[in-house]
């Protein structure tokens, strides 16, 4: 596998994704989500924002999109990555050149993922800038690179899953629907299991909740961040989610297992199957 060809396809994938209106809409939404909460809090003069909280409000913008928006963005970018090439008949032209299927596969995978990382970074930068501009200097920013890494690592789960579904289905609409269904089902089942555990105290519900993909995705950045902040700031974290996983290790391991499984299945399928003609 040649790095130059992987890079060529990665750049191509970024270009292709950006040309789609839905990705541009997601970027616009990122800007809105990153900026709007600060101005809303400022405008409403809410008593929730006490002076001790103000230097930590950057974490609100960083964590608010974690549970839903970032995962959904990753999913939307990945679901069409392979499937749209089949639908438009462009996979055939790209793969009729002296490039290996692995170069094409990883190039597209990494290109789309780079876009997800770019959106996460955009969210972080805008959140910190807005928090500073509206509520003054922010503290504990040194932890942010680690949180960022955790967020982009966690995003691999639904990104890879949607990428896999796109390759297996080879229909973009089916891929979007199926990937989004799994994501929402996991979120809803997680809430349901949490309620059952609270009501019954039965461990099986808690353990089952560990293995839901959304649990590890939501938990990892929170587990990494929370110990670094004063207890008075925990209220801000509650806006994002409550960590489900018992430890950073378990959370990271589950994320790795989920995303690697999806990548390997997609790669095996793509390497063995025929390159489909244009489908409509």
């Amino acid at each position: 596998m040649r790095a130059s060809r992987v890079l060529t396809f990665a750049r191509y994938e970024i270009r292709r994704a950006v040309a789609r209106k839905k990705v541009l809409s997601l970027v616009a939404l990122t800007v809105l989500i990153s900026i709007a909460p600060y101005y809303a809090l400022y405008a409403t003069h809410t008593s929730l924002v006490t002076p001790p909280l103000r230097p930590y409000l950057w974490i609100l913008g960083v964590f608010l999109p974690q549970a839903f928006f970032l995962q959904f963005t990753a999913l939307l970018i990945a679901a069409g990555s392979m499937s749209e090439e089949y639908e438009q008949g462009t996979a055939e032209v790209l793969l009729s050149k002296p490039v290996s299927r692995q170069e094409y596969f990883f190039g597209k995978y990494l290109g789309g993922y780079a876009l997800v990382v770019g959106i996460v970074i955009l969210d972080v930068v805008l959140s910190i800038t807005s928090a500073t501009f509206v509520f003054g200097p922010q503290l504990e920013l040194g932890i942010e690179p680690m949180i960022l890494l955790a967020q982009v690592f966690a995003a691999l789960v639904f990104y890879s899953f949607a990428f896999m579904v796109g390759e297996l289905m080879r229909r973009s609409s089916l891929s979007y629907i199926l990937s989004a269904s799994v994501f929402f089902t996991s979120e809803v089942v997680g809430v349901f299991l949490n309620i059952l555990y609270s009501l019954t105290g039965t461990d099986i519900y808690k353990v089952a909740n560990y293995y839901l993909p959304t649990s590890s995705v939501d938990s990892l950045p929170l587990l990494l961040a929370e110990p670094n902040f004063p207890s008075s700031v925990q209220l801000v974290f509650r806006f994002a989610a409550t960590p489900v996983e018992p430890s950073i290790g378990v959370s990271a391991l589950l994320i790795a297992v989920y995303f690697l499984s999806a990548v390997l299945i997609a790669l095996a399928y793509f390497s063995r199957m025929d390159v489909a003609k244009r489908v409509t």
Binding site: Y12, A19, P98, V99, S100, D274, K277
Partner: protein, 340 residues
């Protein structure tokens, strides 16, 4: 398309596969290649293409042309048999097999968000061309296919014919040795067809090989040196165009164009009688522009006919085989019966 075993039997009984190139010379070879789609099977396909040929790949819709081409490009895996492109397995040795191969698909669906310039740059990167090579080749190719002024337009804004031209340009990027063209003339205006013919002839003159599928038989006849005819997934014929026509047609037609034809070559004229007596001539029919001479498929009395016309004092304007012969031979082949 139905997969009628009786039809297959009839067709394969007339099968003629002319191995024009030995395996060592062949740039393309299929050996009992089969693609099984479940209800439909393409193959077994066996033929080869030698260096320097322009091969017309003919067959009705659904006959297996695209499947055969896609097996050749390593896009689909044959169920059995072997396929070689540049003497390599295009599926398992894809990169090296396709290093010197250009492909233009049927109804090209190119990336609408790119410009022609960007698409050719992408192709150059896939081929591993350097900056200088890309900068040298790109404007020349766009000029050759008549798209230089559209270099920075989005492909989405180009007409169907322009996209087809661009598809051929991307196939030519990187100076390939083999071109595989799936219906390259579709949607191309007459000036573009002339331009493409010239490009393809130059390509072969420089040592290239072309396999071109087409439904435009006059185009195949004017450009190709040999044919592969496929029907219901089976190869019906592999060989020269004239050999195909001779094999399929019970007789051949020669059109003799004569100035002032009604006066000199009318019914019962001396010229008609003389030509009728030439060996191999079956029938001579007066036509508006001269004469239509039916001859036995294995004879070629054109020189003799030409001499008789000149000796008769008539002015010979043109003489050649009827342009519809390949059409008739092709229809005969796919119907499985020789035309009388």
């Amino acid at each position: 398309m139905t997969d009628d075993p009786v039809t297959h039997h009839n067709l394969t009984s007339t099968l003629q596969v002319d191995e024009r190139a030995t395996t060592s010379e062949a740039v393309i070879s299929f050996e009992q290649a089969v693609k099984d789609y479940g209800p439909k099977e393409i193959g077994p396909v066996t033929f080869s293409v030698g260096r320097g040929e322009i091969v017309g790949f003919l067959g009705p819709n659904g006959s297996g042309k695209s499947t055969t081409i896609r097996m050749l490009l390593g896009l689909i895996k044959p169920t059995s048999g072997t396929v070689r492109l540049m003497q390599r397995d295009p599926l398992h040795d894809h990169v090296r097999a396709l290093e010197q191969v250009g492909y233009s698909p049927e109804l090209p669906n190119l990336q609408s968000f790119l410009t022609p310039g960007e698409l050719l740059e992408l192709t150059a990167k896939e081929l591993g061309l350097g900056r200088k090579e890309t900068d040298d080749q790109l404007p020349v190719l766009l000029e050759d296919v008549g798209l230089i002024q559209y270099r920075d337009y989005k492909i989405a804004k180009l007409s169907k014919g322009m996209v087809q031209r661009l598809s051929v340009a991307q196939a030519l990027m990187g100076t390939p040795k083999v071109l595989i063209l799936d219906e390259p003339m579709i949607g191309i205006d007459p000036a573009g067809v002339v331009q493409f013919r010239s490009i393809f002839r130059d390509f072969v003159r420089d040592g290239g090989t072309i396999v071109m599928s087409s439904h435009i038989l006059t185009e195949v006849e004017s450009l190709c040196t040999s044919l592969v005819v496929i029907h219901s997934g089976r190869i019906l014929f592999r060989g020269g165009i004239q050999a195909f026509i001779r094999e399929r047609l019970g007789s051949r037609s020669i059109v003799v164009e004569i100035a002032d034809a009604p006066a000199l070559a009318g019914p019962g004229s001396a010229l008609v009688d003389r030509i009728s007596s030439v060996s191999g001539v079956k029938r001579v029919t007066p036509a508006p522009a001269g004469l239509l001479v039916e001859v036995a498929p294995d004879s070629d009395p054109r020189a003799e006919i030409s001499r008789l016309v000149v000796e008769s004092g008539a002015k010979l304007v043109g003489l050649g085989h009827s342009r519809s012969e390949l059409d008739e031979a092709y229809i005969s082949a796919i119907r499985g019966t020789p035309t009388q």
